[in-house]
Symmetry: C2
DNA sequence: ATGAAAGCGCTAACAG
DNA sequence: CTGTTAGCGCTTTCAT
C-alpha cells in the first residue's frame, strides 16, 4: 500500500500529469490519446493500485461525488432503513453517502448542514427537525441541490419525499371504527413536526367522518424525552375512570411498544379490552402478543426516490425545486385490533 | 449563504491569509498576534459565517478529522446502534464519521476501505466480513489507525472490540439446561466468521460440560441469503420425528424472529414444548409472545470503546496494535425458556 | 506581530 | 497527441 501519486506515474511513464489524468478519467479517447499510451497508463496504475486523492480531486473539481444524509437518529430502525436504501441507490449512481444524526436537535442539524457543505458534498438529503427554515431557504437561494425526506416544511417549496400521514392515520382510525370500537384514544408525541400534526388531524377527521366526537381527555401528546414515564400515567388514565378507552392509535413505533408494555403490566387484554394500532412498525411487531396491526411506511421507495430526485437535480444543473412526492402507507392488519 | 473565503476576509481586513488562518485555528496567542487583530478577525468571520473549505484544509493538512465506519449493513439494528454510539463518541472528540455498508461482501468492503483512505479519513472502524486479511495487513503495515469491531481476525494482531461469544452462548445453553431441557437444538448461519464459530463452540462446550452429547441432527447452519426458507424446513424437522427438540439456541436476532414465526405457524407452544433463546435481540423482543430470553450485547460500550481506542491511536502517533477488548454479554431472562 | 510564497494532489485551459 | 501552467482554498515555513 505504498502510496502512489499521479505525478509518480507520469514520471515513471515519462508522460505529463495531464495525459495521465485524462486517461484515468476516461477522457483519453475524446482527447485523442493513443491507445498505446492509454494502455500503458492503465496497466501501470492498476499494477500500483493507484487511488486518486479525493480531497485534491474534490478541491479541484469543486465537487465530491458524495451526497450527505442527515437524519434525526440513525439508531431508529426507520431511519436506519432509509439510510440503507439511500446508500444502495446512491451507489448505483456512483455516489458515496456521508451520514450524520441531528438527534432531533435544531442546532446540531444546522451545524451538520454547514459542515456537510464545507465537505463539498454535491447534494443533501435531510429528514429535518423542521426547525431550520432559515437554513433551508438559504440552500434554495444558493441553488444547492437537496431533498427533504420523511419531514418537510409545508411553507417552503422544495423537493421532498414524504408519506401521506393524514390519510394513513385516517385509515388506521377507520379500521378501528370498522372493528366496532367506540372510544378511540390517541397517543402521540409533543411536536411541531408537520407529520405529527397531520397524524393528529387524520385521527380527528376520521372520528368526525365516522360520526364520533373527539374527546380531548383521550388525546395525549407526550414529551419526546420522557414519554416512557408519561406513558405509564397516560395508559393508566385511559383504561380506567370515566374516559375509559376501547382502542388506542399510536403515532410511532416506539410509542406503540411502550404503550403495549404498560397495557400488559396492567393486565389489560389486547385487543379484547383495548385495541391498539401503530403508525410505523419495528422489527418484531408480527411476533408481539398480540401481533400488532401497523401502518407501514414505504422506506425503500422513499430512499430510492429521494436519491433519484437528488441526483437528477445535481446532474442537470437547472434546479427547479418542485419534485414533491407524497407516498402512500400500507396497513398491515394483524390481530391487535380484533380479528 | 454567500460563500466567503479566507482570502476574502484577509483582504477585507487588510491582513494576510496567514494571520487570519492562524487566528481562526486558535494559534493567535502562540504566534503573538495582537488581541486587537484577533478580535477583528473573529468578529468578521462570525459575522460573515465563515466556514473553511474542508477539502482544502484536509488536502493541506493531510488529515480530515473524520473517521470512517464500515459495517455489514446499517439497516441491521445492531449495527445501527453501533453507528449511533460511534457517532456520538466521535463527536465528543471532535471527529465526524463517514459510514458505509459492505453488505457482507468482501469485494465491496475492500473498495470501501480504499475509498475511505482516499478520502483522507484519519482512522477506520470496521465490522469486517473477515475476508480481507490482506487489506487489514496492509493497514497495519502502513501504520494506519483502525479498530475492528464486533468481528476480528483471530490470526491478526490488531485493535479490536468484540464480545465474548463463546461464553455468551455457553451461558445461554446452560440456562436451557438449568431449566430442564434435554434436547437442545442449535440454529445458526453458515459462516466463517469467528464470532459464529465461537458461538457454535460455546454451544458444544456447554452441552459437553452438562454431560449431554452433541447431536449433529439438531445443529443447523442456514444459508445467509435463504435462511427464511431453510428455516421453515429446519424447524419442521426439529419439532417432529425422532430428533425432536425441546429447546433451540438461535445465534442471531433475525434467526430467532424467523424461527419463532415458524414455530407459531406450526402451533408449537413456546416455551412449553420448545424453549427458545436468542443471541442478540431486536426492538420488541420483550413484547413477543412469549417474551424472548436474549443475550444482549453491550452496543454502547462497544461503540464508545472503539472510538476511544481509535482516537488514541490517531492522536498519539506511536501506533501499537494491541488494544484488544473482549466484552461480556448479558442474559436477559424473559419467558421463552420457561419460568 | 504580520506577510510572502511554496505546497498539498489533482484538473483543465491553452499551446504546441 | 502531449505538455505547460495556473489554479482549487488552506496551512506553514521563513522572513521581516
Amino acid at each position: 500500500m505504498k502510496k502512489i501519486f499521479l505525478k509518480d506515474i507520469a514520471e515513471e511513464l515519462a508522460l505529463s500529469k495531464t495525459t495521465v489524468s485524462l486517461v484515468l478519467n476516461n477522457r483519453g479517447d475524446e482527447n485523442k490519446i493513443s491507445k498505446e499510451t492509454q494502455k500503458r497508463v492503465w496497466d501501470f496504475a492498476r499494477k500500483k493500485n493507484y487511488q486518486p486523492n479525493q480531497m485534491a480531486r474534490g478541491l479541484s473539481l469543486g465537487k465530491s461525488e458524495t451526497i450527505g444524509l442527515i437524519v434525526p437518529n440513525i439508531s431508529d430502525i426507520f431511519y436506519a432503513q432509509i439510510a440503507h436504501h439511500v446508500e444502495l441507490k446512491a451507489k448505483e449512481f456512483g455516489y458515496n453517502v456521508v451520514f450524520s444524526s441531528s438527534n432531533e436537535n435544531a442546532g446540531t442539524e444546522k451545524e451538520l448542514i454547514y459542515s456537510m457543505l464545507n465537505r463539498q458534498i454535491d447534494g443533501l438529503i435531510i429528514a429535518s427537525t423542521q426547525k431550520n427554515q432559515e437554513e433551508i431557504l438559504e440552500l434554495i437561494e444558493a441553488k444547492f441541490p437537496f431533498v427533504l425526506i420523511d419531514r418537510h416544511y409545508p411553507e417552503i417549496k422544495a423537493n421532498y419525499v414524504i408519506v401521506d400521514n393524514l390519510e394513513g392515520v385516517k385509515n388506521m382510525a377507520f379500521h378501528l371504527v370498522n372493528n366496532g370500537r367506540k372510544q378511540i384514544g390517541f397517543i402521540s408525541i409533543e411536536s411541531q413536526l408537520d407529520a405529527m400534526l397531520q397524524r393528529r388531524l387524520g385521527y380527528e377527521m376520521a372520528l368526525q367522518e365516522a360520526g364520533f366526537e373527539v374527546n380531548p381527555a383521550i388525546v395525549k401528546e407526550l414529551d419526546a424525552f420522557h414519554y416512557q414515564v408519561e406513558m405509564k400515567e397516560t395508559i393508566k388514565e385511559m383504561v380506567s375512570g370515566s374516559n375509559r378507552v376501547d382502542a388506542i392509535v399510536f403515532t410511532t413505533h416506539y410509542l406503540t411498544a411502550s404503550g403495549l408494555r404498560e397495557l400488559k403490566s396492567l393486565n389489560v387484554k389486547v385487543p379484547d379490552e383495548v385495541a391498539i394500532i401503530s403508525f410505523d412498525e419495528t422489527g418484531a411487531f408480527d411476533l408481539a402478543d398480540p401481533p400488532i396491526t401497523a401502518n407501514q411506511q414505504p422506506v425503500e421507495d422513499m430512499g430510492n426516490l429521494a436519491v433519484e430526485i437528488l441526483v437528477n437535480e445535481i446532474e442537470k444543473k437547472d434546479i427547479k425545486m418542485d419534485n414533491q412526492r407524497v407516498l402512500k402507507t400500507r396497513l398491515l392488519i394483524r390481530r391487535s385490533c380484533g380479528v
